[in-house]
């Protein structure tokens, strides 16, 4: 066992180093890759009305990709739920977590600002860095802090979990419908019909704000479901 493992280490290292050296040498640093980016930079704000070009891209120009990415996210959360729900033990051992004063106080103090930061990132996603994914994740982190301080079951009892899980799928449906509404007006789907607004104001960017809000809530619920099912399966921290 020892001899062959040393051989494996050396062989693997040599192969991987050669592969990486090849990649580095093959890499072409003078590329014509600039072209797509330049188009987005020059015409991004005119087309979409949003100041944050990244949001403009993944919620306006490339909304189709984002839809499928949300679907992948939902299916992953569904998978976690499915496999962990099967594995409930015979008894529910309710482990009481020892209450730590430091964590409890810091969670009390920090949870509102974190939630506020998450909401800010979601709502102002088209004007400053952030967006639905970032804001939803940050809000999920805040809820994680609460779960660590109070116990995930305690936090989970505050909202009705089955409704929350169904709501996540309804949000996905809402995003899809919102993207398909232009068909009713005789346009292509995935076009943006809302007015562009003045650049830099909150009411700008067309329907990017709505998409950001929906995605933010969705990611928030998804991360909470993952956290809760993990904690239920493995015990509290």
């Amino acid at each position: 066992m020892r001899r062959s493992s040393r051989g494996i280490i050396i062989t693997a290292s040599v192969l991987v180093i050669c592969f990486c050296a090849l990649l580095v040498m093959m890499f072409d640093y003078h590329g014509a890759r600039e072209e797509a980016g330049v188009t987005y930079i020059t015409k991004g704000t005119i087309d979409t009305g949003a100041a944050n070009l990244v949001s403009a891209i993944y919620l306006n120009y490339r909304l189709f990709d984002t839809l499928f990415e949300l679907l992948v996210f939902s299916v992953a959360v569904l998978g976690v739920r499915f496999y962990l729900a099967q594995q409930r033990g015979n008894e529910e051992e309710v482990t009481r977590i020892p209450e730590s004063q430091v964590i409890r106080t810091s969670a009390d103090l920090l949870f509102p600002p974190i939630l506020l930061l998450g909401i800010y990132l979601v709502l102002f996603g088209h004007l400053s860095p952030g967006g639905g994914f970032s804001g939803g994740t940050v809000a999920g982190t805040g809820l994680l802090l609460c779960a660590v301080a109070l116990g995930a079951d305690v936090v989970g009892r505050r909202f009705h979990e089955p409704t929350l899980e169904r709501f996540e799928w309804e949000i996905l449906l809402a995003i899809l419908l919102l993207a398909l509404i232009p068909v009713l007006f005789g346009r292509l789907p995935f076009t943006d019909l809302l007015p562009r607004g003045r650049l830099g104001s909150l009411a700008s960017g067309g329907s990017i704000l709505i998409y950001n809000a929906l995605i933010g809530v969705k990611v928030f619920i998804g991360t909470w479901v993952i956290i809760h099912y993990f904690v239920r399966h493995r015990g509290e921290i």
């Binding site: 990244v54 051992e93 860095p129 970032s134 994740t137 982190t141 993990f230 493995r234 921290i237």
Partner: protein, 262 residues
């Protein structure tokens, strides 16, 4: 060298540190450090959205679920009746000689110890049904079914038979025979009629009560306490026997016995 380059150079070292640790926990924390540094690099590369997302996910959420995932995986389920000195409840905790032996064994296997209290007669059924891994709680080896695997006795004991024919009828008529030891204590305290066979540890606990109306008889022979396992868990039986032998050889078992029964 710009600050961007300095952080970039730092990244492979942190990654190598994270991935070469022995303890899984240290590796997870190392990768959390890596995510945080990576987020700073994204900020310096003028990608603020990516930086925020990477910080929130890599540092907080990923570390959390990894820490949950590398916990003790699975449980060792013990069933038994309460036996003073061997397996008894003290408020929130469970203490006793057998609990300590089994806790060490569970730690050795990398499992969590979970103890369920059941009446003595249900214990063997629970093992056979596959609901539990080991039966403990002052089980004397002649007392148990033959199908079940037994370990070598870890503590010698004696058997006592208590009978009382006259006096008070039992408070509640038991349909079944399944009673806990605490019920036995209550019955004797109330001086009820009944016949019980108790091992030494339980007898010591009972002897603090008033036994004047009971006929006490010690059964001849030498007995010892044992653990029971289901007949299909031979691997577990082997490991438990090996663990007990190990404890016997380095004297820890004697030390523990002295601590609980001196």
């Amino acid at each position: 060298m710009t600050s961007q380059q300095a952080l970039l150079v730092l990244l492979p070292f942190i990654a190598a540190f994270g991935l070469t640790r022995r303890r899984r926990f240290t590796a997870v924390i190392g990768m959390g450090m890596f995510s945080l540094t990576l987020s700073a690099v994204y900020l310096l590369l003028n990608a603020p959205d990516v930086a925020i997302t990477e910080a929130a996910i890599g540092a907080a959420l990923v570390t959390f679920i990894y820490v949950l995932a590398i916990r003790k995986t699975g449980r060792l389920v013990i069933v038994g009746d309460e036996a003073p000195g061997l397996l008894e409840r003290e408020g929130d905790r469970i203490t006793g000689l057998e609990q300590e032996i089994l806790a060490g064994f569970a730690h050795h296997l990398g499992l969590d110890l979970v103890v369920h209290f059941l009446p003595r007669e249900e214990v063997e059924e629970a093992l056979l049904r596959g609901e539990a891994d080991i039966a403990a709680g002052g089980i004397v080896h002649v007392d148990a079914e033959d199908r079940l695997l037994k370990t070598q006795g870890h503590l010698p004991t004696g058997l006592f038979h208590l009978t009382r024919e006259d006096a008070v009828e039992p408070k509640q008529t038991q349909e079944t025979e399944w009673i806990y030891f605490s019920d036995v204590l209550e019955a004797i305290r109330a001086q009820e009629k009944g016949a019980y066979t108790l091992d030494l540890a339980r007898f010591i606990a009972v002897s603090r009560l008033d036994l004047s109306g009971y006929a006490v008889e010690r059964l001849p022979g030498s007995f010892s306490y044992t653990f029971l396992l289901p007949p299909d868990r031979e691997e577990l039986h082997k490991r438990l026997s090996a663990y007990l032998d190990h404890l016997r050889q380095n004297g820890e078992l004697d030390g523990m016995i002295r601590r609980y029964f001196s």
